[in-house]
Symmetry: D2
Subunit: 373 residues, 4 copies
């Protein structure tokens, strides 16, 4: 990446919860420059300051206050090299398709295309290699695309756990069983999202579709990208869903009265016997260095996984802001009497669990030449 080069980017759904986080992070980004902001027709034509009910604990960046919000139509974003989508699922489907068809590179936080067999579902510290499916995604489009594509990042609760799990698989071989119970922050539901009457002095032991997402996305992310020879000679790439080493995943998801930061209690069983000791697990987690770090992604945190030794950490209020929420925290690594090892993961659902992942994915795409710098 040439020094000082700047890349114009757009943000879709810019007035929403995830959009505001994109705007906050991108305003301080060394490469990316916010060039266009998109939102619903109701907001279009207003300045961002007028259109947006700003709910971040930091002030609205000065540079975006006066920007005029656009409708989410591709023609308004034609001069953006990258478009970040913080759209809600009900709007994201059609808009992201249209943007891709208009040869725009879309990095989406929405769930709509995560299960698409030609769309990579990338957690930046885990499976950037899945970007290799993009040429196939473009080739299968009608007409074939040259620059347009969609990359999705994972659900926030999936992201938090697959990062340490990837570190464990790299060190100790494939996992066989995974049982996770989540305690998820209210910001994960957007704004207005969770009614205060539902969550103050309360737990809601259900988040619609969340358990299925964790159980499915984990397999796509941790699994490989395989290539089968086709008759015509060209190989067909496919996500193998961890099929060579079947992994069974069980999730129980809860909403808790925490503003930001998902806490997840994880138990795992390894295929390899004997399994690693808690101390070996701690060391492997702390030593984990993802490609995003090695390649020099500017938004990759210094410490990808922070391993806590104190018995009562990580805690969302104390640890979610560390490194601006770009890493994950793991604590209480100990033996599990039922599976092998259990531990607690904390991830910042609005940072690495959402906008930060999309941004590092885009940084990876730039560094790997998938998006021209």
């Amino acid at each position: 990446m040439e020094e000082g080069r700047q890349i114009n980017v757009g943000v879709l759904g810019a007035t929403g919860t995830v959009g505001q986080r994109f705007v906050t992070l991108l305003s301080a980004h060394p490469w990316f420059v916010i060039h266009k902001l998109g939102a619903s027709p109701r907001s279009a034509g207003k300045t961002y300051r007028e259109a947006c009910s700003w709910k971040q604990a930091t002030a609205m960046p000065a540079g975006v206050k006066g920007m005029v919000v656009q409708e989410c139509k591709a023609e308004h974003f034609a001069d953006c090299a990258i478009v970040f989508s913080g759209l809600d699922a009900d709007a994201a489907g059609d808009i992201e398709t249209a943007f891709r068809a208009a040869e725009l590179a879309v990095f989406s936080n929405a769930k709509n295309y995560r299960r698409d067999p030609n769309v990579p579902l990338i957690v930046p510290f885990v499976n950037p290699g899945h970007l290799a499916i993009i040429p196939q995604q473009q080739a299968l489009h009608s007409p074939p695309l040259h620059k347009g594509f969609i990359v999705t990042n994972a659900n926030c609760s999936t992201t938090g756990i697959v990062i340490p799990l990837a570190a464990l698989e790299r060190a100790f071989g494939p996992l066989e069983l995974l049982l996770v119970t989540t305690m998820q922050a209210i910001s994960g539901a957007g704004y207005p999202g969770v009614s205060s009457l539902d969550i103050l002095d309360n737990i809601v032991p259900h988040i619609g579709g969340e358990e299925e997402k964790i159980e499915w996305e984990t397999l796509k992310i941790l699994g490989g990208l395989t290539e089968t020879e086709t008759e015509g000679g060209g190989g067909l790439k496919a996500f193998d869903m961890h099929a060579r080493h079947p992994l069974r995943v069980s999730a129980a998801c809860n909403r808790v009265p925490v503003i930001d930061g998902h806490t997840e209690c994880v138990s795992v069983r390894f295929a390899r016997r004997p399994p690693p000791s808690p101390q070996q697990v701690r060391e492997a987690l702390a030593a984990f260095t993802p490609d995003a770090k090695a390649l020099g992604c500017p938004s990759a945190p210094r410490y990808t996984i922070t391993v806590h030794e104190e018995p009562d950490r990580p805690q969302p209020r104390l640890d979610r802001g560390y490194q601006d929420g770009a890493g994950v925290s793991v604590g209480r690594v100990r033996q599990c009497p039922v599976l092998d090892i259990k531990f607690v993961v904390l991830s910042n659902n609005v940072s690495i669990g959402a906008a930060t992942s999309s941004i590092i994915n885009a940084e990876l795409a730039v560094l790997k030449g998938v998006v021209p710098a």
Copy 2:
């Protein structure tokens, strides 16, 4: 139980969190009459109203306001047929021993004697048969006792899960694996207990000693009471710790910003194959009728286990007050991709998880003649 017969009872630790709950419940009890209140020397001599910083959401019962608080010495409680102990662990050990030695029947919520091989650890809807160890407890005392004994109830987080687990074992045979993640209310830590700075907008993923308690107590409660012939002819009773069908238990405990009500996400594997279906589990839970109900314990709730069909229940704020917290709620019964079945349990930690359990244990002891009515 003869109509209208009244039994004098005492409450130790009466000014504390559990003690206040004992006082509230006993003030409306059809059999038990609060006769003596015991607390620390600092409180002794004051009226209960003066000594007690009342923190219940219901008013202090009129009948106890003017009662003079006693020191926790057995001579002050000599005319109590039953003594309930809500003492903290640091005081409970010596005091409860002294009360037993003074031929008093002690029903304790403290943890001190739960692991004693001659003290029953009773969850009233699960293992009232363990009262049968009491003669041995008395006989082994020096000098042998005639009326004095200690019965403990379980830790609040254990109590919540063993009730549905007992129902499942009764219907489907022994369990083999149990994995539980708890989200526990602040009232479980007493008063002042958890600092607000530690729990507002936060989760603390650790409660000292709690996981060990769940992993150990569950075995004592769900396991049998076996008798081995001794040389002298008399059988020696012992708790078998679920040894005939080894059960492995793994617990992960969290403190959450909820006032009352422990929520627990449970996954289980049965020994018998194939395991029951979720619908069979729901039916077995709803049909469960414990001895406490059959025998007519007045504090046993109408519905021991309430099975929720709504996808987002039970919730502590909405469900903890049902039947004054004397039953437990189970919801989200579904298949577990890793073990067999998973579900969510809610129990009121200050009611069935503490004082209500002790009271029903005492009712059982009266009905079974262990305590003379």
Copy 3:
């Protein structure tokens, strides 16, 4: 009121927050029998159990579960002697007018007709005498009405303070200045109401229209009902808005993370000099006996105003449930260095602040013969 006589009542907006509270209270009422439940067309035709997302901490009363919800059309409620309205303001206007025109007696919690010069705004322990405007309300209708009318109760934050203020005016003469700062519970905004992201670990120092309501309603409620001779001979009744002794009211309203119970810090100045002492104020508050009590309204609490001596009471969590929320609590009565006296009021906004007020108003109307028993 004849022993055992039963009065059929309907509830409008029955599936909403206030409606659920009406249903809970009326299900246990000695006179009133829930005969019809009304809600939006979307709910009509369903059973109450199906139509309603029940959010009360007590279970849905058995008697209403199977009742079929009606559209809010007067013909469905023709055989109801009384109709309670928990409708939202956007629906209440037209529906309540139509019900009145159909000769139904409407007791409304909605704000729409509170400022109507012929509709009484009644806080049951304060100004039941304002029911005397009803014949004029009926006579001015076109065509004149025989049985139909609308009675409103006050805004929840107004209700809490006018009860002790009425007690003070009765004892010490008119007030001259009133300054109140409120800390209002989230349930006051209905469901879903306040977003959890807006109120967890936060205060919102603004509630739309609330300060104006307190500043205006207080005058209508505490003021008299005057009669001026008209040319034709009949007197014309009018609310005097405390005009004979002008009262200036200043309110500052805040939303706080409390589920139920409005806390209000009040300072007042009396017209009469010297003003009463704090002790005289405490005694007058505790001695206050409203007409609703004297007349025998079954929902009137035993203690209308509970005066707390402890320095840190009342508190919403501990005191809002006392007498099922039908009274108000006052504490910290002390001198105000700027005005005369200051104190803290706690009222249960969903009970005396809403449904309970409407119900006692209806009881008063029955006892005074305004509604035939």
Copy 4:
């Protein structure tokens, strides 16, 4: 202040809540270098990392982790030009006296000496002129001091309001009446401080001694420092407590479930008639430039008073972190029907309400030559 000059400072009570905030702020300070950390004998001899249960949402600064904590004895701090005290009131009295006697300059957040007639009580944007009492404080000491003195800052709830009040007095002349209702964060009570059982879903309408502090400190801070000729010729300085224009202050203090940030609803009456309009007040607040800013105190924020135009701001969660909590926010400036003007103030109680005030006071003392640079 010479470029690059560094001043060694010590922190007393360094492991406590305020102490941790001192350590966080001083670690990034351009002039002050943490040279010594003092705490209780229990902590002395341990490294700061070992001694301190770190509760800040930012990581412990690397530079202090290995520092050895000292007992709070003056001899250990002899080479500190400035000592900041975050001691609790029960320890602060004797220790601060001893440090002053040892010729150390103490800037204290404790309440012990705030009422001392020779100790200035300084809110840095309000009354830095009160530093002029220091020579008298030193001269009256026995033996007279050359360098040692004590400067206190105000109680957190006082600090928040006197800053805008000082701006108003500067623009519109003296105030006559002040009525304030506070909603104070739990961090104001230190750690463990407020029990979670007392504040979750609750308000506590009482904070011991707080109302008296506001009512008294406001007068000392906003009042002048007068000098009376004494017989011997030397003038005697005294705080006039706003005596030339008597100001009556009434405070009502509440604890609310907010982590950081005190919200205060203020009503004021001016002596000058007619009073300013809300718009004039807004302009005067926004334009206020304190000496600390003019003199170049490095910790003075860019905007001393941020005036919000949105109707629902300031809010603690959204606004307390602005400028790292060094300014105050004012919103909802409007007419008060009882006094003249009412508005809402938000101040960060752990920043400008505590440690930040002490630090800016010390900066002022350096810039004015009271402490040698």
